[in-house]
Symmetry: D2
Subunit: 337 residues, 4 copies
């Protein structure tokens, strides 16, 4: 059994990590830490959990022995602890944004703070194993992608690799409210959120530069992306509707083949008809459908923002980094309804 | 045109008052006050409103000339301003709890604060016009009932008056999240509220003593009430399911007749089959259905908590107090869907 | 009082028509017809209605005397009755699709049936009064636009008129389930619809050719539109997110001014910040917001699909045709929450 | 590996059975049958499933070799096949109602059809393992309880066994729409269901006699139950609010202890504070909370209607019947959010 530690156990992503680790056959939860919940047991704060219910939450990861640490915190928190964790020989999967943008100047522009650990920024792998698996396999530090970039990049990669995209791409995302985090806010107050569809993040959501950076890593030429997320009355789930412009002479008939070929060996990506979000709930799966509307490709991409868009993908990254079965703890099926 | 003032314009009940007054033919909005929004226009804070959009919000009602003031604030606020308003000759409809319980000692027990205006407490009418219309007609001060007592008392009055209730009554209420108010809270955070039914308020919700007090006013003998509200994933609307025990030899066949006779002349209470909440949305209507389950009466009562359960009933009370048409501004139909 | 008749009274659009007419000061409901509900009263089928509750539903409009008839039926139904209604001197507002596409061949392609009344197709006005008010004013026959075209065309018109659109336009629409109609279907079955966002209509939704035709009427050059509607877990309401490409040198700073200037005198179109759907519920209003995302215009357009997207706009059209106050019966405010 | 067969694979309970069996370590899916989906693969009809995706659906269970058959069909279907399955040595868990009521005359009264297999009716165990585990352990035929009886009986058993109930019990249940089944209906049509709370089943829901019969099996004296289910805008989940009357001198302080003692060794029943439905989603767990409201016990009981209220409990019954680990395939944690 490898050992895992979780820092940021009281947020929604942290809770989902604990839920997945409760079901993991070869990765054991050695420690859970949360400043706000320290001293309570996991059973106190998460009555849904059974295994590990008597584990006492610690204030931090000081002195913890683990093979991998999952960091689930806001911007600026991870880079304060990553150097010491790595020094202690603990691999890190960071679910926050600190190591997602390769350029520290870009990080400062987007997140409004100076990057304090540029050294490790350079070595961090971008943790989308379907696209960057080789880097993850050998990494000590993985930047777990944002939820919207995960859904978008999996949806764009096959077309981009085949040169079937020209010109601007529109990414219209619809997300459930759990993406807003556990802290009550005006936009996620039930009376405000339950009866509307709320576009937010304009003029530039922080996940847009992350998408652009990752497309660059994929070797796609510069593709301008217009990205607008919308809060919809769901709790979990993201559906991205992605509108691209094809080059002259594109052959729409082969698009689905491109996707199936690209993901044939991926245990977590499924290509088919229009997806339903319950299929993805609580899972590490991404459901893709590519269609031709007026000769242009429209791709629908469905994930659980806390699953493939967060905690489940983090566990997949840890599995890959630690040489475990990539699907360990992640094989359960989503809901039919 | 009579003149109205609203204190507490920025909450949900205050907003609904402004919406109804925007459509009132004979009651003009003379002033709107809110400490937190003072200086802004109504159009700034409520883009849904057209009439009065340029009205500037005041910090309080000092110096305002009005025939009636609607007070929409938390416990303890109304009793601080009611004496001076009455002295200035302004009638008051208080949507808060300060004047609902006739006994100051009971108020102190339930709300945890001493009542500072027992003098006017004695003269306040309990503003359920269908049951206490005579008192409202001549009142200077009306205590607008709580949302749950409104739905419950309209549902129990015909049975109680006919002596068809013996023993304890169970009131199981289901309410939308707007009843929690405009301030974000953990229970009304969308990710927490959207996928569950949350009982709250046990062991004693503050509306239970109000129900008991009002049943006493109706001359019903002491009826023990077990009242449990549940937050359901709706924004507006309350459905109360009310379970009573009949006396020996009760005739279930006449129950619906009792209700129809009682409310035949009420423009706002409808008796019939199982109600749907959209019918009541935005209106001053209460839909009642009485059924026999195993020989015991079960009454379903549906209102909009912000409408008949709050702002619309407050306007009805003002209409009655001021000698206006009781239905003025309140005639519009609810939704079919 | 002018007289109105409604054919198709039992659907959701028909029900909303009856609700609005119940509140109309100068247009009286003379007859309501529905094959499936004939013989019942309006109160039987629509307990939310008060006025007209004793009106008996007729099977059709034969022998009815009215100034205007609202037809709310599926494709192919209106063109069977419009010729005789016009001959009897009754103006018609058709809420179905039969008279929306000016070209009978296009109608046949899109709706899969031959147009049997090409004569009146030529004279029908496209009933978006904010854009085609002159034609509506003098029309005997108005084709009430589809819900999605209404939201889209109001959102595109100012940019299109100013030459600020080049290249393709993406219209990503999110709609509540009432647009699916009153008949239960698999996609609108609650367990299937409540926890997902469902794109539908690809490769070509029937409202796309209607948008293209109407843009042509506006004199905009040929603008390719990629339109994908999505079913979201709402009952009423449409939010369209519209992504356009500006010409070189476009000045994003003037876009909001263009919108405000265009709709300054329109009582039903409001320009401002990001809209909330409750503001539009039950109303004839459209809320628009135009923003620059990476230098390209993104327009958000919010309506009630049964209101401005259907029944309320139909009443607005009737008001204009009959020379009544354009806002009669349509002035009430939407919800704040 | 033991072998399982599922009859009725295309309904919601059938789908949930397949989902759980996809994750079961010691019970293998040998056959899935559905008249309406015969010939398709499981992957065709249930894209959420991975394991068994190539299994071809059969029209019936003729010729199938299995250790246990799960029957998930409407009233009258199971009793037509149970005799032959038992004769073939196949144990049966029936998720339908045919074997729940011990008295064939009562079955006929409630379900409106004659019971055609009274012989096996007598030997069927009532499959609530926490209360009737001994009978399940030795049974060839188990009647899986209805969803509402499951939640109610687990909630009442400790009080009933301790003699802490006198007089009538009110069971006010709130259920998600998946309980209505996969076939679209008017009540579960999204526009009708999403904005209301709909009481149904009065004057007598079919699960009421089942509760009474099971309480009799528990040896409780005759307890009159008033049971009213309400459809709320959820997909999965039942919360029962149960109001009982205590005997004179009841000691509310020991109620929680009674529950904890009763379920201390049950892996699937948790006693604590007010439950949240997401904890139960997709699981076999029941969360109970008992409180004193005005001296009377109020019990809240939360389950997933498709989980502990259906498919998961069916698998638990099969595990017990076959001598497998009772928790096999059922250990996964529910959601925190």
């Amino acid at each position: 059994m490898a050992k895992a530690a979780v820092l940021g156990a009281s947020g929604y992503l942290g809770g989902e990590l604990l839920r997945i680790l409760s079901d993991h056959p070869t990765l054991e939860l050695a420690a859970a830490a949360s400043r706000s919940q320290a001293g309570k047991t996991l059973g106190d704060v998460a009555p849904n959990l059974e295994r590990y219910r008597d584990l006492v939450i610690r204030p931090d990861l000081g002195g913890v022995d683990a093979d991998v640490a999952f960091l689930s915190q806001g911007a600026g928190e991870a880079m304060a602890v990553v150097p010491s964790l790595l020094e202690r020989g603990i691999r890190v999967v960071d679910l926050g944004p600190d190591y997602r943008l390769p350029d520290p100047a870009e990080y400062e522009r987007v997140y409004g703070r100076r990057h304090t650990d540029p050294e490790h920024l350079g070595e961090a792998a971008y943790g989308l194993p379907e696209l960057f698996g080789d880097a993850v396999r050998t990494a000590r530090l993985v930047a777990n992608p944002g939820c919207f970039p995960t859904a978008t990049l999996l949806a764009l990669a096959p077309l981009a690799a085949a040169g079937e995209i020209r010109g601007p791409v529109v990414v219209d995302a619809k997300t459930g409210s759990s993406g807003a985090g556990a802290q009550p806010t005006a936009n996620a107050h039930h009376p405000e959120a339950a009866l509307t569809v709320l576009p937010y993040g304009a003029p530039e959501h922080r996940h847009a530069p992350e998408m652009t950076a990752a497309l660059g890593r994929l070797g796609a030429g510069p593709v301008p992306i217009t990205f607008v997320p919308h809060l919809v009355p769901l709790v979990r789930g993201i559906l991205c509707s992605i509108y691209a412009s094809p080059p002259a002479g594109a052959d729409a008939g082969r698009w689905t083949d491109l996707y199936e070929a690209r993901y044939r060996t991926s245990p977590f990506v499924r290509v088919g008809g229009v997806p339903r979000l319950p299929w993805a709930l609580g899972t590490n799966r991404c459901y893709l459908s590519v269609q031709s509307v007026g000769g242009s490709p429209v791709v629908f991409s469905a994930i659980d923002n806390l699953g493939k868009g967060g905690a489940a993908q983090a566990v997949q990254n840890a599995n890959v980094m630690l040489g475990l079965d990539e699907s360990a703890g992640l094989a359960r099926a989503g809901f039919g309804v």
